[in-house]
Amino acid sequence: MHQIACHECDLIHTIPPMPESATARCVRCGALLLQSKADSINRTIAWTISGLILYAVAITFPFLAIKSGSIVQQTGLLSGIQQLFSQDIIPLAVLILLTCVLIPLMQMFGLLYVFVPLKLNIRVKFAINVFRLFQHVKPWSMMEIYMLGILIAMAKLGKMATIVPGLAVIAFGLLIFVLNFAITAVDSHMVWERLEGEP
């Protein structure tokens, strides 16, 4: 038995020991208080590693190509961002770089940094800070929105030219799901309890 306060309405709840895969909601405002996950550590590590492999493909292989008549031009995820930098649209270039490239990567490295030591039962420095950062950057990881943007861009060009998706887009699309699975497998309450008392 332990007490927690709802993070959305500050109501105190006494939570009994939770069975696996159970959720606790606030009785007053309905906010999600706790969610216990089965086999959280193994599943998070597994999904994160598959995510990193897909990420490597998404970054290195050709992302999109544009075809107009006989002209075909290829762009990678990173070279597209570089293109924006060279055209002096720096704020937008930084925005894309953060939300679709760096933050997803940080999330995956962050998860491994916290979860692998938990699995091996060892303690590492700064695990608390890394996990805190992981929780804060979550809304700023926007790969799924980028994917919708690709679809709209394809429709928008319409007659002018055709966009041909490359292998990297497929990896990128899968990565959205895999990273999401990794994040949903995280039992943050368990992590905080295990990290407790670390230096």
């Binding site: 306060a5 109501l11 009785v27 597209g80 937008l92 030219a161």
Partner: protein
């Protein structure tokens, strides 16, 4: 399940923003901060300066919303002719093309959602400031909705950057980003931070005073 409704603050307890551990809030003198015994995060009964920060960001977002909608988002030059497109003209283009589904997606994500988000945040701020005790549950739900949906407004920015990076076909076709793109991106970022600054517990605080 009927239990007495007690808020953490009434018992002198505070919930950590980061790890949600419930601990005793020490008496603080000015310029001192309390830290969570478990994760070391700074403790606050409520998010600091929540109302002021949210107001500031919402007002800034309102101002930026105007050039974001009036100025061109993309500048397309094709075979010597130049065409500028605002967000709305992009929506109209898709309606003319007959793909009203895409028009609807862009209209919702780029015009409706940012607008509604600003309106809802202002409404929540006013409810909190006038200590309204009506419908706290619905207000909290409204807040949760704005927090979850707001990020999808970014989609139009992504469309612009994809087109700009991709369509570089020299004389045949060339697309550049218009000035609205940066304003629009700022609106989305500012409303996202505004929603993060707002503390939904303030909605429920008025209720607590009512019970006393």
């Amino acid at each position: 399940m009927k239990q007495t409704l007690v808020m953490a603050r009434q018992l002198g307890l505070v919930s950590c923003h980061d790890c949600h551990l419930l601990s005793h809030m020490p008496e603080l003198s000015a310029n001192h901060a309390a830290y969570c015994p478990r994760c070391g995060g700074e403790l606050h009964q409520r998010k600091p300066n929540s109302i002021m920060r949210t107001w500031a960001l919402v007002i800034a977002a309102m101002i930026f919303y105007i050039p974001a909608n009036l100025l061109p988002m993309t500048i397309t030059s094709s075979l010597g002719s130049t065409q500028t497109d605002t967000i709305m003209s992009g929506v109209i283009y898709f309606i003319h093309e007959g793909s009203w589904q895409i028009a609807l997606v862009i209209f919702t994500a780029s015009i409706l959602v940012p607008f509604m988000k600003i309106i809802i945040l202002i409404y929540l701020l006013l409810c909190v400031q006038f200590k309204s005790i009506r419908h706290p549950k619905e207000l909290t739900r409204l807040y949760r909705l704005t927090e979850a949906v707001g990020r999808w407004s970014m989609v139009d920015i992504y469309v612009v950057t994809i087109l700009v990076a991709l369509v570089k076909l020299g004389l045949i076709a060339n697309i550049d980003a218009g000035p609205a793109a940066i304003y629009f991106a700022s609106v989305v970022v500012m409303t996202m931070i505004a929603a993060e600054c707002f503390d939904p517990r303030l909605i429920w605080d008025a209720l607590e005073k009512q019970h006393e």
